[in-house]
């Protein structure tokens, strides 16, 4: 490096590189990228910064260095939570990934009957708040539980309940990742193994597992992060077993100790950030495994394996259905399990704490607005980041901001929002306590996955559309509206769907920033359960589930009906 700078003055003839003049499109696109960057700075970066600075402050705002961290680790009750969180998350992760691997193997590598049905059943947990499995587990194994004897005297309130609930809730997430990893294997490797007369046992360990290893590692980190940052399950079923996620809630909502909440939030940020980095690395490698010439693997029927897998998958699917079913029956029975007469008394939410039916309609509105504005902002943003010519440094920074929320647990983001927006000195303070802040926070919370979906879709379409348009002197926005958007419509709808379902079911980020007139359904579940109205809580959880499920079903019908016709051009 040093020699290079020394040599430079010897070449006075080296003229400055030419710079291209900016056209109208360049100005508009760059302006929009900068605007998006500012939006993400305000809705993601500054709240996180507020959280960070809060952890170094005393209650009166003085800078106290690491005093809060010292106080945290000096308190054994709090410091224990770290260990609790870690081992419970590890255990849940191991069980969940193992089950998901077996299930995914059944779905992708065998000819067992009913694979379509199994696929649908496995998606159930994603449509419900994480509170739902916890409530069902209380009904099954709690103090008056139906099958309490199955625990042989152990209590469901604590690690056992948390692990069971978390495995249920994270199962679909692990399944999606592992199914993808198993589905993109190369049939030629299996043919080679067969030709070399490798035993099926050896083929499994030398071909199947190595092929799926990045997916497995990725699943481990994703599940671990989900569990350690989840708040719904331990809140309902954790009893006196403290974990980091419930500590934040207790510190902030219970004791109004914001500084300590910020400290716990930062600690929670570590595993999530680590998982984020590992996941990014793994996904890059997984894609590289599949060459363009790979031949997709098609399983052959094998009576023994197919039957064995059918039995195992049925068991898992049955467990999922039982957990959902318990909440369902608990909500429609008059007083389950003593009075099983069907009744809608538990749906009379207006008579309970939690905001009543209004919470549900708030949730619908919030989810609808999130899907609408979130999809518009995220897809347009991804387009700008991908397609703006040159401008590399700024685009790279905006891309980083777009991926940042993936590393931030909802609870931490929500806490950052309190610190940032509830500050009277902040000119944006007026949105605190409104529906707007819930929508903005939820968009930020789920920004990254949606952004990645959009980027993937944009990368798949011809990179030369923009060049051709520019050479035909057509402004970029016209090509965006007429070509890019219609071609990416399936991905756009996927994003809208993802945002809607998550906005309906999420508790973690919004639990800190809702106001009395903006209570949400999932939070109502939490508050009713807290108040001892467990059956109405189950009922509300079922309403949320039903809404998400119906939306999903309508979406599927739409994609098969209308979309199929509107997207005629895809057919040959």
């Amino acid at each position: 490096m040093a020699t290079e700078t020394l040599i430079l003055p010897d070449h006075p003839a080296a003229a400055a590189p030419l710079r291209q003049k900016l056209g109208r499109d360049d100005w508009i696109m760059r302006g929009a990228v900068v605007a998006l960057g500012l939006w993400l700075i305000v809705t993601v970066l500054l709240p996180l910064w507020a959280l960070l600075s809060k952890s170094f402050q005393a209650a009166d705002g003085r800078f106290v260095g690491l005093a809060n961290f010292q106080a945290y680790f000096a308190n054994p009750a709090l410091a224990d939570s770290i260990w609790h969180s870690v081992w419970v998350s590890l255990l849940s992760t191991v069980i969940c990934v193992l089950l998901a691997f077996v299930y995914a193997y059944g779905l992708t590598r065998t000819c067992m009957p009913g694979r379509g049905l199994f696929r649908i059943i496995a998606q159930i947990p994603i449509l419900a708040p994480s509170l739902l499995p916890a409530i069902s587990l209380v009904y099954l194994f709690g103090n008056q539980g139906l099958v309490k004897w199955m625990l042989f005297g152990a209590s469901i309130y604590g690690p056992i309940g948390i692990v069971m609930g978390e495995v249920f809730w994270t199962f679909p997430h692990a399944l999606i990742i592992i199914t993808t990893a198993l589905a993109i294997s190369d049939a030629r490797l299996y043919e080679a193994a067969e030709a070399l007369r490798a035993s099926s046992h050896r083929t499994f360990w030398t071909v199947t597992i190595p092929g799926a290893r990045y997916g497995l590692i990725s699943a481990v980190f994703v599940v671990f992060t989900l569990v350690i940052t989840d708040f719904g399950v331990p809140k309902v079923i954790g009893g006196k077993f403290n974990v980091l996620a419930t500590d934040i809630y207790k510190q902030v909502v219970g004791q109004q100790n914001f500084q300590m909440g910020a400290v716990v939030g930062l600690i929670l940020l570590l595993p999530a950030a680590l998982a984020f980095v590992v996941d990014q690395l793994m996904q890059r490698r997984q894609l590289a495994l599949l060459s363009a010439r790979a031949v997709p693997y098609a399983p052959k029927p094998d009576a023994t394996i197919d039957r064995a897998m059918l039995a195992i998958c049925s068991l898992i699917a049955f467990a999922i259905l039982v957990i959902l079913g318990v909440s369902f029956f608990a909500s429609i029975a008059t007083f389950w399990p003593y009075n099983l007469t069907p009744s809608f008394k538990n749906f009379d939410f207006d008579m309970m704490d939690g905001g009543g039916w209004r919470s549900y309609f708030n949730s619908l509105l919030m989810a609808g607005l999130t899907a609408l504005f979130g999809t518009a902002v995220i897809f347009t943003g991804a387009y700008l980041v991908e397609k703006t010519p040159r401008f590399r440094a700024i685009r790279g920074f905006v891309q980083f901001l777009a991926l940042l929320p993936l590393a931030v647990p909802g609870l931490v983001l929500g806490l950052g929002y309190i610190f940032f927006f509830n500050n009277p000195a902040n000119p944006l303070n007026f949105i605190y306590g409104t529906m707007a802040i819930l929508v903005i926070c939820t968009i930020s919370h789920f920004y990254s996955v949606s952004h990645l979906t959009a980027v993937t879709a944009l990368k798949q379409i011809d990179q030369e559309f923009e060049i051709v348009s520019a050479s035909l002197r057509v402004p970029f926005w016209r090509t965006f509206m007429r070509v890019t958007l219609p071609v990416c419509l399936p991905a756009v709808l996927d994003i809208a769907m993802y945002l809607f379902v998550n906005a309906m079911t999420t508790v973690s980020a919004v639990v800190f920033i809702y106001a009395p007139h903006t209570t949400l359904a999932a939070i109502a579940v939490l508050n009713m359960d807290d108040a001892g109205d467990v059956a109405p809580a189950a009922a509300m959880a079922m309403v949320v589930f039903a809404t998400a499920a119906v939306t999903r079903a309508v979406y599927m019908l739409l994609t098969q009906g209308y979309l199929a016709r509107a997207q005629m051009w895809r057919k040959r």
């Binding site: 710079r19 056209g23 348009s469 050479s471 070509v483 051009w569």
Partner: protein
Amino acid sequence: MDSMPTREPYLRIRNLSKKFGAFTALDTVDLDIMPGEFVSFLGPSGCGKTTLLRAISGLDVQTTGSIHQGGRDISTLPVAKRDFGIVFQSYALFPNLTIKDNVAYGLVSTGAPRVEIDKRVKELLELVGLPEQAGKYPAQLSGGQQQRVALARALALSPGLLLLDEPLSALDARVRARLRGEIRDLQQRLKLTTIMVTHDQEEALTMSDRIVVMSHGRIEQVGTPDEIYGRPATAFVADFVGKMNFLEGRILTGKRANVGGAVLDFGEEVPLAEGAAVTVCLRPEDVVVRDIGEHSDNRLAVQVGVMEFIGNHFATTLHASGTNLNFSADFSINAVRDLGISSGATIEVALPPKRLRVFAQQRSATA
């Protein structure tokens, strides 16, 4: 295009360089392209041909140097302010729009009335021979048809310059051969200045008025297809275009060299001192096997080695008796049949002096 007696180049490229960090993709390129000319940029991948096209189109502006198009300095203009139509290897047709809407895409933005647009689209589709396909979607057409739609779309705004980026590489051999002729024919009818980037020498040789052979970011030679093939200016061009024997030898006199023990005469004097190391280039198809007599220059008795049947000719390896000289030669089927050439036989061949190209051995010294 008006045809003034002193023709100004339509595209004037001066001192063009492009650097990507420490890597030099284009190294001080100068090039003039005349109005109505079809010019191909030919070279292996990484030679800079695509970089040069991207500089001309404004997709990747050069680091230094200037480009003038029709007298206008376009060196730093944004893409939309330049005047060209472009066709890519991928076609880049908008998949959700019909053929008609694809072709009309640029016309609609001009604000022309609907009737005029329809008329122009019809004209363009007839021009490329697809008048019946207007209502279909791109995925319903064959690759060759899609490429022609892309061409019609690029021509819609009557650009002054047509850029073709490997336009035929994605097509199968038969379609490619047919489209070669069609594109060339269209270009000549419209008298449209056209630049094509290709790595396929056959494509460049059959379609172009002139070929620009490039290597390592530099222009190796600019010339008509005949010049490029028959009189390659450098050993690189000789090697890259067509098949070539490279025979190592030493200069004896200005018109003669010792090549592996055989003495070969050249057609032209070579300005090299006696004893200088040279490479003598000879195309396999230039080896003469018929009508060899006492008067034939560079007459050699050779032993026939391997004979490979290629279909329309035989590719053979020959060894000149009593020397270390080995080279390959292509013999027509009827020559092999008439003269009874077979593997192991000894025959007489001649290497016409005019067809030998001589280069001083400095290929490794150029770096």
